[in-house]
């Protein structure tokens, strides 16, 4: 989907070759008219969104949210999220649903971080749309950077085809040897390695579950990893 504009631009020279002047001129006119129409539609949609939302409830909800009222904030977010999603979708038609949700989340987090700047005497929607437009522009720049610097591939090669390279990889990921080395670890070290390295828990979560202190968890995981390394190197 991301490659579509590129494909279109690659096909264009072929069309130009068949009927150079007329096709190119028509294309330019058509794309110019489309661009103008889209911008006009976006502007009308933007304005109607602001007018629809000129409902004092949003102002009151935001004012309450500024005082720490979580219930009002929840109502406010539930109300604005669909509107913001529609706005982002209409202005970034070339983005996929996941990217639209990413931008939407950025807008929500940005709004949250600058909620102190909202003045209840002023309408809420222009305030929110100013943040949304800014984050959309940032998102567009990020997308353009990514499109310019990243190459999309269907499948990332897992390893090299060369046998020597594979033998090195396989030796490092000898799962049977690792399982045996894990079972030989003292219980506390095994528990620490399992929680912090295999289940990827945070130190605080692991401390809460195991009853060990954060300090002893750090020591146990350090000793456990050292013991595993020693055991695996010895096996090789």
């Amino acid at each position: 989907m991301l490659n579509e504009p590129e494909l279109t631009s690659r096909r264009r020279p072929h069309l130009v070759r068949t009927e150079p002047s007329i096709v190119a001129e028509n294309e330019n006119l058509a794309s110019g008219a489309n661009l103008f129409r889209n911008r006009l539609l976006d502007r009308i949609r933007d304005r109607s969104m602001t007018q629809q939302a000129n409902d004092p409830t949003l102002e009151r909800l935001m004012q309450a949210a500024q005082t720490g009222d979580a219930r009002a904030y929840e109502c406010l977010l539930s109300d604005v999220i669909p509107r913001l999603r529609r706005m982002i979708q209409s202005q970034r038609r070339f983005l996929g649903p996941a990217e639209i949700e990413d931008i939407l989340q950025d807008v929500l987090i940005s709004m949250h971080s600058v909620r102190a700047t909202y003045d209840p005497q002023r309408p809420f929607m222009p305030w929110l749309l100013a943040i949304a437009r800014n984050r959309l522009a940032d998102g567009g720049r990020k997308w353009a950077r990514r499109a310019a610097n990243e190459v999309l591939v269907d499948e990332v090669p897992v390893t090299f085809a060369d046998d020597r390279a594979n033998s090195e990889q396989e030796r490092q990921f000898d799962s049977e040897g690792l399982r045996k080395a894990m079972s030989d670890l003292p219980p506390r070290q095994r528990e620490a390695v399992e929680m912090l390295k295999l289940r990827e828990m945070s130190l605080n979560e692991a401390a809460a579950e195991s009853g060990m202190s954060v300090g002893s968890l750090k020591v146990a995981v350090h000793r456990g990893i050292a013991a595993l390394r020693k055991a695996l190197v010895k096996d090789q």
Partner: protein, 222 residues
């Protein structure tokens, strides 16, 4: 609703705390000036005011330039504080250009008189101006940066350039109270040049100083 967006929404609601609403840009600019003026007065006292200050206070040309410098600083501060409030008309960024034009016109007129009379004969280097403006403008600039970081970085470069202009304008206002340099040509090149250079540098530092304070990915996912 998308699950990730729902999680973010939940996280935002969970981390909601009461916030102190930002006062209006003009009130914030007044507060900034109220903090900056005593510091400028202190620097002028420490550096010892120029000997002919009393006489200069009755000089119309000097007073126009000083008032224009002060109003440029104040309006630049108002504009800087307005650009960090979402929903404000961005044309407010042009606000300091009117007093700046008066300031430049007053200096320009003096320059023309000097150039037609003596040419560049009285022109010399005066490197004292740049560090002196920085010295007088430091506290106002730091205060401005701290105050700007509480807002939304919608136009970081423009905002910091306006903040820099405010601090440098105030710095120049203070400088002329202890630095006995009144030749319009010298003031235009060295003092106004320093003000514009500092404004430019502050504008370039915009994206470093002002960024969205967003949650990290762990916070989002939590």
């Amino acid at each position: 609703m998308n699950t990730a967006t729902q999680k973010v929404m939940g996280r935002l609601i969970d981390t909601l705390t009461p916030v102190k609403r930002l006062p209006s840009p003009s009130l914030r600019a007044a507060a900034w000036l109220a903090l900056g003026i005593p510091y400028v007065a202190l620097v002028v006292l420490v550096m010892s005011p120029r000997s002919n200050l009393a006489a200069k206070l009755s000089d119309a040309h000097f007073m126009i330039e000083q008032i224009a410098a002060l109003i440029t600083g104040l309006t630049a501060a108002v504009a800087a504080f307005a650009t960090i409030i979402p929903g404000y008309d961005r044309r407010i960024a042009w606000l300091p250009f009117a007093p700046l034009a008066v300031w430049l016109a007053s200096l320009g007129e003096g320059c023309l008189q000097i150039l037609t009379a003596d040419g560049f004969r009285n022109f010399a280097s005066d490197w004292f101006c740049l560090p002196a403006i920085i010295l007088v403008g430091t506290v106002p600039a730091v205060t401005m940066a701290v105050m700007l970081r509480r807002g939304a970085p919608l136009t970081p470069k423009i905002t910091t350039a306006l903040g820099g202009l405010a601090a440098a304008g105030l710095g120049n206002f203070g400088l002329r109270l202890f630095h006995p340099q009144d030749s319009s040509l010298m003031v235009l090149v060295w003092q106004m040049g320093s003000v514009l250079l500092l404004t430019l540098l502050c504008g370039m530092a915009g994206r470093l100083l002002l960024r969205w304070r967003l949650m990290n990915s762990n916070d989002r996912a939590a």
